[in-house]
């Protein structure tokens, strides 16, 4: 009986080592540091077809014209040299899904039960949990990066995110609390990763809004800190224009 127990113990111990190793091995492909492709990559390294341009959002007719007008207004203000103040003027970070566009490098880390992604711009952190079911939107506290759960389908990480604050928008596209962001994250090859994004919103969109982002691996890169400690920009209280606070003011 002693021998049988020791064999059983040995088998359990081995399982205890192997199972976490398997979980880590599934994730290790996307682990690492990533630069946006092709935007942050030198021209001679642009060997793969870049993703298609992001299409306009399929906003419902009652919202589409307002959105087009706003985009045109913002572009015209820029062209005049009188840019309207934005969330960035107040050091408000991108949130989801914009944080995944890879404005700056990002870091993907797998640990037990979760994938953590850090975007260098504004030190944004999102946590994707590998257990649990997607939240109902009514139960999702509004956040910048939402609530994410994911499952591995073979080598693809399939993520559901819900609960984005109303004013956290991508390309100024309005959304309801019911908006969901679905992602399929996978490697094209060892050094290239894709995030296929699908946004759905029964209140604002006629159908899914889909696009892909691509990244190239940069494992020797060490992310910088980003603390918005010295913000010299402000919104003009009368015009809403972005202004610069000079030294001495």
């Amino acid at each position: 009986m002693y021998k049988t127990s020791s064999k059983l113990l040995a088998a359990l111990a081995l399982a205890g080592l192997v199972v976490p190793a398997l979980q880590a091995a599934e994730a290790v492909g996307i682990d690492g540091k990533w630069f946006a492709y092709p935007g942050q990559v030198d021209p001679q390294e642009r060997t793969l077809e870049p993703p298609a341009p992001i299409p306009d959002p399929p906003l419902k007719p009652e919202f589409l014209e307002d959105w087009r007008t706003l985009r045109a207004t913002l572009a015209a203000a820029d062209a005049r040299g009188e840019p309207i103040a934005s969330g960035y003027t107040r050091c408000i970070p991108d949130g989801m899904p914009a944080m995944m566009q890879g404005m700056f490098p990002m870091e993907v880390m797998a640990s037990r039960g979760q994938i953590t992604i850090i975007q260098e711009a504004y030190s944004q952190v999102r946590r994707i949990y590998l257990a649990g079911e997607p939240l109902a939107w009514e139960d999702a506290e509004p956040r910048f990066w939402g609530h994410s759960v994911a499952k591995w389908e073979d080598e693809t990480l399939v993520v559901d995110t819900v609960g984005i604050k109303d004013y956290v928008m991508f390309r100024n596209v309005p959304h309801s609390p019911a908006m969901r962001i679905s992602e399929r994250i996978y490697l094209l090859d060892t050094n290239h990763m894709v995030d296929e994004v699908t946004v759905t919103d029964p209140e604002y969109l006629t159908g899914p809004w889909q696009w892909s982002w691509m990244y190239t691996r940069r494992d020797d890169y060490k992310l910088y800190e980003y603390v918005c400690e010295n913000n010299r920009e402000f919104a003009d209280p009368e015009t809403g224009e972005a202004r610069l606070r000079l030294f001495g003011e």
């Binding site: 935007g39 009652e62 919202f63 307002d66 706003l70 913002l74 572009a75 203000a77 820029d78 062209a79 005049r80 040299g81 009188e82 840019p83 309207i84 103040a85 934005s86 969330g87 960035y88 003027t89 050091c91 408000i92 991108d94 949130g95 914009a98 566009q101 404005m103 700056f104 490098p105 260098e120 009514e138 004013y167 928008m169 991508f170 390309r171 100024n172 309005p174 309801s176 609390p177 019911a178 209140e203 604002y204 910088y224 800190e225 980003y226 603390v227 918005c228 400690e229 010295n230 913000n231 010299r232 920009e233 919104a235 809403g240 972005a242 202004r243 610069l244 000079l246 030294f247 001495g248």
Partner: protein, 139 residues
Amino acid sequence: MNARARLAPLFKAYLILVLCMHWVPNAAAHHSFAMFDSQNQVKMTGTVTKFDWTNPHVYIELDVVGSDGLTKSWTIECANISILGRIGWKFNMIKPGDEITVIVGPLRSGQPGALLKQVTLPDGTKMGNGGPAGLPNIQ
């Protein structure tokens, strides 16, 4: 009240206000470089009084003696630590007291603020200000 009834009217009513005050732009439309005149660039030499190695922007305060003999303090906006670090800037590359030459796009408002295009350090090294800020168009 069901979810649909709750959602629809309120968001439409506040749509424009929310969008104008709180929007987050995409990366292509850089947030506020448009306030600088990147076409009519100017070149200045002056003495550094401050070098803020900070986010969201690195700033140089530069005392420049004008043609009228008066010293004006300029606020020169550089990119952020991440972009600058990646093109070779160091936190201690510029110090108060350094005499540097800058090529800048000045504020359209006429105030003494500007966007850096290129800096020439005391040892003659020239550094840019990263892709989004654009290149110098004068020598």
